[in-house]
Symmetry: C2
Subunit: 400 residues, 2 copies
């Protein structure tokens, strides 16, 4: 079996943890598997490098930042290869470009264009454990690029897809995907399985277990994922196309506190107004969610939507001129809100899931500001101070 | 003019020093020159990386050590490019392989096979200051190699040779090449010029200003070198083929305390004995210097020679069996010795230089154990405790 295993920065943070990862990897190898390991930079290394750069040039070019940051994985892959060697197993470390990662040239958030696994395959044929630097690749100018946040997950899935691996294991500091954040919600349950679509909705709703680009890629190339803990030996959560526990109505409750709500009050109720609002926001490269438009009254209407917290003021800036021109009564941005979502493929075929959620919130005396939904997700906006209580109430309602 | 500038680890040890280097580099650029800068890893980075490796695997493979160590220059080149950018000048950093360094596959002490400066030239054509990672290259397997001690000096000279640069400046923490170590010898004088051969003899005699591989390469390709300080603005020392101060009899006095003396007493005085001794030492890959063979007496003779301090016991080990077989009276290794050398092309045409040196030592009541010489160097072995006094006495004799 060909297994790709990915370990994040906290899993390789120090010598002891690197040895721990080496043990997991060699256990898999000893069972007769071909093993490719993808690692991120050691947690503290990344912070140290950013600090060094800031001291010298707070507005350093992204090209040079990528050159700097990519040294982080170079350190962790060589250390892990040394650790595997210390346990008596053959290993070789490969940088992103050596492992065949070609990307576009968008420094600091590059996209993988192609993985040519020729070198990895040659090393596996020599019965070596192959340790690959995640997060990094090479562009057409032969310059080093990095993939941006969660990039190592994407690197692992890309290798698994290119090599048609049997399994891609994402080791992290939690034991799997839970019905809610287990550090905050009592009785949060670990899910044995979840579909790609559910995982995607959870990831975009604030669950920080997996990066959504990596889930999208896994879905596209049918790579079976497993999320599990590097610190505790236990079965994790499998992410795949079809799962066997459809009887579960919803899979999880997620909170996203990183949102801002933009509201425009008293816009003239004429055709094309909404289009003009959202095209202006899109031109400012701001993603929008949870759109709410009031029913027109007195010839005016209200529009509200949520954006990532960091983009709230930018959205107001992008709309200011238009709102003044149209005579809107108010344009404002609130960041004291949070988005609570429930996700589950089961809700497609069950009525009343939304009503159940709203009932749970009403019973807890929590006011719902806006509502949005997809086929397998319902999200509501609530006051930030109510957010944790809202998650607990909804989770209790669905999971007892 | 095309100028190659090299800065060592201590010259880029922290943010302040990196900015200082950026100022030197941009000053050269502002004068209308094309500038290629070669840098080593930040001093503390190298130590940190070695520490990390030791913690995990004290006998790590050299291939993985090279992968690890090469991250050091990756950090310093990106930081220096950021610093140059912060001063408002265009810069780009290049790793060893991006700058075209091909080496053999002797990990941790690789030799440069070829420098293909195509990418560097393209960047210079764009009017950029090019910052190149010293000390590293790529072998035929597309794996990263490092050049070993003093490797960045060699990298700089190799680029200067490949690009036919007008000047290769080696910035360091001393102001140039001195007639003796200025931290230890009063009145040590900075030399305005020195020949390649003299510099080579000084480098192999314990002067730590320049790595001798880099001087050999500079001589071979007629690269004009200049050694100067990165911390103090002052003219340094030029190293070239022909210099104008031949009137100076000797150029410097050097001390090498890193030697051991191996002695064999009472070997049978038969043909081929010396050959057998030194072929055994050579088979153990130990370099030998200062050979002394006594005149035969009573059918036996004595042989003594010096080796690098770390190889003393290995040399004894390599000779033990042979000495027992031949019935030698004694085989021993002394490390309480130091080699004192004077170097100067002038001694080729002047008699009495050796006598002058021995007189100075005799006046200081220092015993000479063995003597060796080349055309432009005379070395003597003295007790380690006398070494600094010996340097001072000889220096005073020649330089007043």
């Amino acid at each position: 079996m060909l297994v790709v295993q990915k370990f994040g920065g906290s899993s390789v943070a120090n010598a002891e943890r690197v040895m721990n990862v080496a043990r997991i990897v060699t256990d898999t190898y000893k069972q007769g598997n071909d093993v490719v390991v993808v690692v991120s930079a050691q947690g503290d290394t990344t912070d140290d490098l950013i600090e060094k750069a800031k001291e010298i040039n707070p507005r350093a070019s992204k090209r040079e930042m990528d050159m700097l940051m990519a040294s982080g994985e170079q350190i962790s892959i060589s250390l892990l290869a040394m650790a595997i060697d210390a346990l008596g197993f053959p290993a070789i470390s490969l940088l992103g470009w050596q492992a065949g990662f070609s990307t576009d040239s968008k420094y600091s958030s590059a996209r993988i264009k192609r993985v040519d696994p020729e070198r990895i395959r040659a090393e596996l044929d020599k019965k070596r454990i192959v340790v690959v630097a995640g997060f990094q690749g090479l562009n057409k100018y032969d310059d080093i690029t990095t993939l941006g946040r969660g990039g190592s997950d994407t690197s692992a899935v890309a290798i698994a897809a290119a090599m048609k691996a049997d399994l891609c294991q994402i080791y992290t500091d939690v034991e799997g995907v839970y019905t809610a954040d287990p550090r905050k919600v009592e009785n949060a349950q670990k899910l044995p399985e979840i579909t790609y679509d559910e995982m995607l909705e959870l990831a975009t709703s604030g669950a920080q277990v997996l990066n959504n680009r990596s889930v999208e890629m896994a879905k596209k190339y049918s790579v079976e994922l497993e999320v599990l803990s590097s610190l505790k030996k236990a079965t994790g959560t499998k992410v795949k196309e079809v799962i066997e526990m459809e009887k579960m109505l919803i899979k999880g409750v997620a909170k996203d506190a990183g949102v801002a709500r933009v509201s425009i009050v008293g816009l003239p109720d004429s055709p094309g107004v909404a289009f003009k609002v959202f095209s202006r926001v899109a031109q400012a490269h701001i993603t929008v969610d949870n759109i709410l438009q009031s029913v027109g009254r007195d010839g005016t209407k209200d529009i509200a939507f949520t954006v990532p917290a960091g983009s709230g003021e930018d959205a107001v800036e992008a709309l200011k001129e238009f709102c003044e021109m149209k005579g809107a009564k108010e344009l404002r941005c609130d960041t004291d809100v949070a988005k609570i979502s429930i996700v589950g493929a089961g809700m497609e075929t069950h009525e009343g899931v939304a009503a159940d959620m709203f009932e749970a919130l009403a019973d807890a005396n929590i006011n719902i500001q806006t509502i949005s939904s997809s086929e397998i997700r319902i999200s509501v906006l609530v006051a930030k101070e109510d957010a944790d209580r809202a998650v607990a109430a909804v989770h209790r309602h669905f999971f007892g």
